[in-house]
């Protein structure tokens, strides 16, 4: 079974609809996804070739229970071991993997769990990514917060006790330029001790600027490392350029960011290969930038506004747990973030095994923190990127994590 992503909206003009259908059905009208667009920086890097050669040759059907058992015994998990742990042969060993992952997590992170919250400041987007609620053809309420509105949102969030924030926008340079994002970072530094960014990929110099404005962690998801599939899902906009996106983390680190986060959106393509590539992306970049902090996320597809049927297909909770345990065993030093796309039950369970960072008090809409936090409805709001599953507030999350015998941490980072 496949997801049916294409949804038409009645409000699109006939001409727009025609263009949309052509993009969806005729690959020849789409821009060449291997060609850099104007303004995109090209960097020299061998990381991509290293990752892709492993991914392309990965045949997970050849691994057996013996390989998995050997991988679980090894003190150091090699790439080969990791491949075995991601294979279907490892599914019956999930409990053993979880036990080993828990030990590794405890070795590197003790029993701490970091809490943060995302803040969407704009949902304008120039990309047509068929699975995303923000895609430019999806009929949703668009909005971009003014600087005053951003500050108001930040105050509401900071009042809840949160110390780390992740600023997000839709991917529109025209609506949310680098200067606008920089201003949001400067404000965020007033209210929070740690500011992360999840915005459209930019060039090294722009990362330098944003770092100066106060951001020091950059998250960009590759969505899928399978180029052929990628091309069929990202039909319009700068996001089509797969390779520019791939090198984003390296540009961010060259621009002076302290850390970077990675992920594939599980369910878009072969999830085992995507999980392998995500972790190797971290692995090879870590060897090049040993001082950098790195983290992995593990989003699965979720329903969006106007398409409630989107599902993560074959990536069930067991497979997700397998991937996260394999990540942890292979990359014990890496942060693992689990978003509110997952249920409260799953997140409570996974923080005991492998996850080190969870969000709380989450809204993926624009400008609606006050109404969500206090029930007070005031002014316009923009629509959400996807449906969240775990709606717990910071206070509730804090209490639940403590209840699991873990230590919630709001921030442990000293700015220098």
């Amino acid at each position: 079974m496949e997801n049916q992503f294409f949804v038409d909206s009645e409000t699109l003009s006939e001409k727009a609809l025609e263009k949309k259908h052509r993009l969806e059905n005729d690959p020849s009208v789409r821009a060449d996804f291997t060609k850099y667009m104007e303004g995109m920086e090209v960097i020299e890097s061998d990381v991509c070739d290293n990752v892709m050669s492993h991914m392309e040759s990965y045949d997970y059907s050849k691994y057996t229970a013996l390989d998995v058992e050997a991988a679980l015994r090894h003190e150091n998990c090699t790439i080969e071991d990791f491949k075995a742990l991601l294979s279907p042969a490892a599914e019956p060993f999930l409990e053993q993997m979880a036990q080993k992952a828990r030990l590794e997590t405890a070795k590197h992170f003790g029993n701490t769990v970091y809490l943060f919250t995302p803040l969407y400041i704009a949902n304008y987007c120039e990309n047509y990514c068929v699975y995303c609620g923000f895609n430019c053809y999806n009929q949703i309420k668009r909005m971009k917060l003014s600087i005053e509105q951003i500050e108001h949102e930040m105050k509401v969030i900071a009042d809840s006790g949160m110390e780390e924030i992740l600023i997000l926008t839709g991917e529109s340079r025209a609506q949310s330029d680098v200067h606008y994002i920089g201003e949001a970072c400067k404000l965020a530094r007033k209210y929070f001790r740690m500011v992360g960014l999840e915005v459209y990929p930019v060039n090294t110099e722009e990362y330098k600027y944003l770092h100066k404005c106060g951001a020091d962690y950059v998250t960009v998801f590759q969505e899928t490392y399978d180029k052929t599939k990628y091309e069929t899902l990202h039909l319009l906009g700068h996001k089509r350029v797969w390779r520019y996106r791939f090198d984003t983390q390296e540009r961010a680190l060259r621009g002076g960011m302290r850390g970077v986060a990675f992920s594939a959106l599980l369910g878009l393509s072969d999830f085992r290969k995507d999980a392998l590539a995500s972790a190797l992306h971290v692995y090879f970049l870590q060897r090049k930038f040993p001082q950098a902090e790195m983290s992995l996320s593990c989003p699965r597809l979720r329903p969006i506004i106007n398409n409630d049927k989107i599902s993560p297909l074959d990536v069930h909770e067991k497979q997700l747990c397998q991937i996260l345990c394999a990540y942890r065993i292979f990359l014990p030093y890496v942060g693992i973030t689990v978003s509110t796309r997952e249920s409260a039950e799953f997140r409570n369970g996974i923080v005991k095994i492998a996850a080190t960072k969870v969000s709380a008090g989450v809204s993926t809409g624009i400008g609606d923190h006050e109404s969500k936090y206090t029930g007070k409805q005031e002014g316009e709001c923009g629509d959400e990127q996807f449906e969240i599953n775990d709606t717990r507030s910071l206070e509730k999350m804090y209490g639940d994590i403590t209840g699991e015998g873990l230590q919630p941490v709001l921030n442990d980072y000293l700015y220098v």
Partner: protein
């Protein structure tokens, strides 16, 4: 296994045993090279003596790669000077950098070694730096252009074995160059262990020079290094530990 070659600076070697030639008679070198199956041998550069009419090169088979060291150097400048003299002797561009600023323990000076590596790599040498196993220094050596990294197992000449085992393992895991254990390996079993860990090669000298029967010990090392390499490639099996770990299942919360 047949294609399992050691590659250093583009040169391929079938043997993973690097033989030292110090502290024993030249007459034994030929037998040592043969019984060790060595394809690389270290030499030092010293003031020439006119009275000795025999030359060590006459005892080394032609197909063996010479790896001159910079022993005697106390800083980067001296090491660079010795390396240039060695190259002028006309036996290839390999050099093992050895810089000691300490006469009591004979421990290598990592920061001077990094400097010398950078200079010599730029001059086209295949640089094999001998070093104290420190991850950051090893990364700097990679950036400086080293062709391999040679961490010590224990103080030179001590025959004490893998005293720095955990740190050598870190280099093996993190450094994308051949890791060659140099100094301190006293017995074949230690050489074997180093190879099982994933070292690319082992260098030994004193262990042979101080053995009762040098060629026989060379043969023992050869077999130990080959055995360790095979074990590494075969990936070691399980170790049974006593007892088990019982705890509540961690994965009970998962839904289908």
């Amino acid at each position: 296994m047949e294609n399992d070659k050691l590659v250093i600076a583009g040169h391929e070697f079938n043997s993973r045993f690097i033989l030292g030639s110090g502290k024993y008679s030249m007459k034994l070198i030929e037998a040592a090279v043969k019984d060790a199956g060595a394809e690389m041998i270290t030499l030092s550069v010293r003031r020439a003596n006119t009275k000795e009419h025999e030359n060590i090169l006459d005892y080394i088979p032609k197909n063996v790669t010479l790896l001159p060291n910079t022993s005697g150097a106390r800083n980067a400048d001296e090491a660079v000077r010795i390396a240039r003299l060695a190259r002028e002797l006309g036996c290839g561009n390999f050099v093992k950098i050895e810089i000691m600023r300490d006469t009591k323990y004979l421990l290598p000076d990592n920061s001077e070694t990094i400097k010398a590596t950078e200079t010599l790599a730029k001059e086209g040498f295949a640089v094999l730096p001998y070093m104290y196993p420190d991850l950051n220094a090893a990364r700097d050596l990679v950036s400086a252009g080293a062709a391999a990294v040679m961490p010590l197992a224990s103080p030179i000449g001590s025959n004490k074995g893998l005293a720095t085992k955990d740190f050598i393992q870190i280099l093996i895991d993190e450094i994308d160059l051949p890791i060659i254990v140099d100094a301190g390996i006293g017995r074949p079993s230690q050489a074997c262990e180093a190879m099982e860990m994933g070292c690319a090669a082992v260098m030994a000298n004193t262990a042979l020079a101080t053995a009762g029967d040098l060629p026989l010990m060379a043969a023992a090392f050869k077999q130990a290094i080959e055995a360790g390499r095979k074990a590494y490639l075969a990936r070691p099996g399980r170790v049974l530990t006593r007892g088990g770990s019982s705890s509540d299942p961690l994965t009970g919360f998962l839904r289908d």
